[in-house]
Assembly symmetry: C2
Homo-oligomer: 452 residues x 2
Amino acid sequence: MEKIKPRTLSGFMELLPQQQMQMDRIMETIRSVYALYGFTALDTPIIEASEILLAKGGGETEKQIYRFTKGDSDLSLRFDLTVPLAKYVALHYSELSFPFRRFQVGKVYRGERAQRGRFREFYQADIDVIGDESLDITNDAEIPAIIYTLFSRLGLKRFQIRINNRKILNGFYAILGLSEKSGDIMRTVDKIEKIGADMVRAILVDDYAISEADAGEVLKFIAIRGTNAEVLAALEQYRGKNAMFDEGLDELTTVARYLGGFGVPEENFAVDLTIARGLDYYTGTVYETTLLDHPEIGSVCSGGRYDNLAEYYTTKQLPGVGISIGLTRLFYVLGEQGMLNPEVPTAPADALILPMTEDLSAAVALATAIRGAGLRAQLYTEPKKFKAKMNYADKLGVPFVLFLGDDEIRDGIVSVKNMKSGEQVKVAPAEAIELISAFVAAQNANAPILDI
Amino acid sequence: MEKIKPRTLSGFMELLPQQQMQMDRIMETIRSVYALYGFTALDTPIIEASEILLAKGGGETEKQIYRFTKGDSDLSLRFDLTVPLAKYVALHYSELSFPFRRFQVGKVYRGERAQRGRFREFYQADIDVIGDESLDITNDAEIPAIIYTLFSRLGLKRFQIRINNRKILNGFYAILGLSEKSGDIMRTVDKIEKIGADMVRAILVDDYAISEADAGEVLKFIAIRGTNAEVLAALEQYRGKNAMFDEGLDELTTVARYLGGFGVPEENFAVDLTIARGLDYYTGTVYETTLLDHPEIGSVCSGGRYDNLAEYYTTKQLPGVGISIGLTRLFYVLGEQGMLNPEVPTAPADALILPMTEDLSAAVALATAIRGAGLRAQLYTEPKKFKAKMNYADKLGVPFVLFLGDDEIRDGIVSVKNMKSGEQVKVAPAEAIELISAFVAAQNANAPILDI
């Protein structure tokens, strides 16, 4: 028979078992931290009607979308988790309680040009809090506090959550009389880390016909640096010139104050006036999160406050605040940087049981006892040579191999080999379970990410 | 602005938060049981090249598939988890260890005609053990033992795993000289529960030109009933007439014997000669699982032994045995039957904290302590009236509301209201945590499915 060459599409991450376990551990940590903060899990369809997903229309996204017809239906694969959330909240509005706190960890699809480290199928891990008509500003402070807790549990240390407020930016541009150009300016300023201040100035002056003086004011403004207290103090000097600016400054000041209260250390967040987020729908607080030793990655976790989640589907005013982790890309980068901790369980089992007798009942009983203790046990029953069995155990990377022969069964014991140390002991099954449990507990206590 | 009516595509399950938590608990139980038996998790892409997914070609499946082009690529959404596994094993053969034990819980897509209880996007939850050239028959017995453990943990009681062996069927048809028609016969016999014995006989005689005598033999054969021991004894009477039959009988006898050894009670499995499985690639043991009180649902968990997993992609001989749960349909049916246990946690939080002071620091500290104990806590900070806050707690279904006012903060205590009993106590935070923990632990001990 003619064989078809097996392949996985480029831009689609497919992991080997050991890597998959590392990914799953990160995902599990994300889910559990989100849940600890009272967010409920959603799992919306990957396929939606195109008219739903593209309600907003236009832009880069539409070109990247996977869109097709099936029968009479014009369908698309979701390209983020926010649009499906908007649909969900509009559709199920009367069945939900507000503030509605949901998390979703799911695959999304964008047919981007394939390149190293860019994915067409990737996981996003989102949280959002949606209010009905209003939503308190404390939520804007809790969201980065959750990210701080999560990243810390994942093992990340050298990261910074950078915060700004779009009202401050919009207010500032209004003060300069540049409101109509504020979108262009923000998109340009957003690139300052990549292209530098001089290039930003040139684009503002040449492309957007902003005066040298105003461009200077813009650059001076976004150059405000210092501790969070210093930046907020510098912003106070602009107060009283524009109502929106003042409102944004109040919000930012409140968020910065609460963030400390929520337990986020000063070194892990920064008021940063260069953060604008390209997306139009952010209207207040905006976030980006960078790994301090890997600025080249850009933001690994971004989001912000929006006035109206579901305006394309409902007349209800549904303000919200949320944040999203680009998980697949983050995992890829962590792997590239050697930051995935190998000292977490990556073998398919904690113990491989090798029965040395025809009758398997003793081995099955032992496996059942081990599993009863919450440990993962595999029974190896292939009729292979001893050496082949040990090779298999070695390749799998199981930490323990358990031998059960006639002697062991007669004496009610089991031979336990620690595959790393090579040490082998004969102990009662209960003792074997304790031994394995202690090892697994120590492994499980390790964070999935190494960040020195 | 013109609004687009929010909707979810028909045939796509989208759950409300409470139901989603029930679904997630079932899924979590599946994953954890699969992991306990030493299966490693895979997460392959949902999109594959069409030439890969359709390598086998033809059949009902091809019509149902979601297939489309993106740029120059001919793409399809996976319609099961077996074909992607075959590709995965062929592609990563040299990096895997055999027997390769993997589980995957993931969404698959079939554009079936929409009808109640039929889904176009649905979860399958699969395990497979793949051998390299050979795979011991004990694996055929362990797979249903895993399903038994899983179903028991889920709370199911009245279920039966029905087992047969295709070699017995093929051997039997060879004895009658009907080998060439065995596929047609098996597909017909497979419908006996739906259409009855007389209709099966009529189809065999009229449609497939089988003599009345032979049709009688077929019906007599599949009518063999009794305890497992009785059925196996009845089959012994056919021994010696066909080598394949004898091999199948040996396998089935071995599997039945080991199943007991693996701890599956006699009442939860049955040797059943009517089980054939429609799919061509099963070559030995076959399984179906039925809920005894809901035969109308059909099999909720099916699978079997195959000689060659990946013949379309590789010359390697990779025999395997596996089983698949149609999870979305199962969940739907359980819901319809009122079999989902409401006494598991379905609220987004175990405790809702209502701070009664401007300063949130005490409330944040309390929330942090609660979360540190692994409990889910939500801080409610919207500036609403007390009654609105309690209504919210009520609608969410949180079991406990914690009040923290000036008095409580001064005295180092917290007011804890049990929302079900209405009882309210003032206790130290540590005591509040104990109280909530005890309640949550009791809830978590409940199985997700009710089966009386």
